[in-house]
Symmetry: C3
Subunit: 133 residues, 3 copies
């Protein structure tokens, strides 16, 4: 369930979506920025309404993840992703691809995101705002 | 070799192909249903003949797998997949994508499928009947 | 950085690109053949120049890897891959897919490639010569 998505983060976790170009040019913030779980939950509410009008299925193919410990006790993880979208008519298209850059911490015996940065390869972003990537 | 495919299952293993829509609406069986290895072997025989006429290459990209132990000692596994098909002319297309839902058991020191359910995102299934997904 | 790519190999490591068809017909060498790191470094130099003219982004989605030890103490690894290319206009296309067949050895406490063979599913190779796959 999409409602579970904010639960993968710590309370003051951050979720960012940007593009490869923005990142390279050190533009501060990209396309989307959720600071804390409250903002993510608002996003889920908005999403539930959007789903009614856009009955698409999104499939995430996530490649091998490289994880390394950092000095502050957290873990840095990086994975490539490819998202496919299937429409109501059955047509399957590439929705987007890029890289997840994650900061992961232990929280009460579970691993959670402190920060997930989604870096899209493409700068064509107009349709990419509805679902968490 | 496609002939090895039934060997990944236990003797009375099950192989099902369905769609996300069928699963959501709890329709009993979807597109394909093999009950036991014999039915899978029949399928392989049919497939060998089909290959002669359809010289396609199928490439499976399988993302990270989530595995959890169950109460009866088996394991439940879930993975997303994307299948690409390359034709004789060299063109590459998305053939299908979706989710594998697996029940895995130990059998004489090896892990084997007791049941694999292939859940396709798309309900366009007319061309998806030839190969095991 | 693409400059790091040769560092994943041992000094006399080999990097080959071939097609599924070439491999099946046991044609000796396919599309590209680098024997030793020097040849790979030359390739990187050529690539840096090519990038100026072709500002594409290549995204590799690598599925689960099967690794098995061999008799000579090295490891044989096989993974399926899908490469997506994003153009300057933001369009994302499938660039190629196939299989990596690797020989991996320990070298001063690190794992390195002794040999990587890239087997492309498609024989349409004219545009596939610029970047290491």
């Amino acid at each position: 369930l999409i409602e579970d998505w904010p639960l993968f983060f710590i309370d003051d976790g951050q979720y960012l979506v940007t593009t490869r170009e923005n990142l390279a040019k050190e533009r501060p913030i990209g396309i989307m920025y959720c600071d804390g779980r409250g903002m993510m939950q608002d996003r889920v509410t908005a999403l539930r309404q959007a789903i009614v009008f856009e009955p698409h299925v999104y499939r995430h193919i996530v490649g091998s993840t490289v994880i390394s410990p950092t000095e502050d006790g957290s873990y840095a993880a990086a994975s490539n992703f490819h998202i496919l979208r299937t429409g109501a008519d059955g047509a399957v298209v590439t929705y987007g691809c890029g890289r997840y850059l994650d900061e992961i911490v232990w929280h009460r015996g579970e691993m959670r995101f402190r920060k997930r940065t989604v870096v899209l390869d493409s700068s064509r972003i107009d349709t990419l705002l509805v679902i968490p990537l």
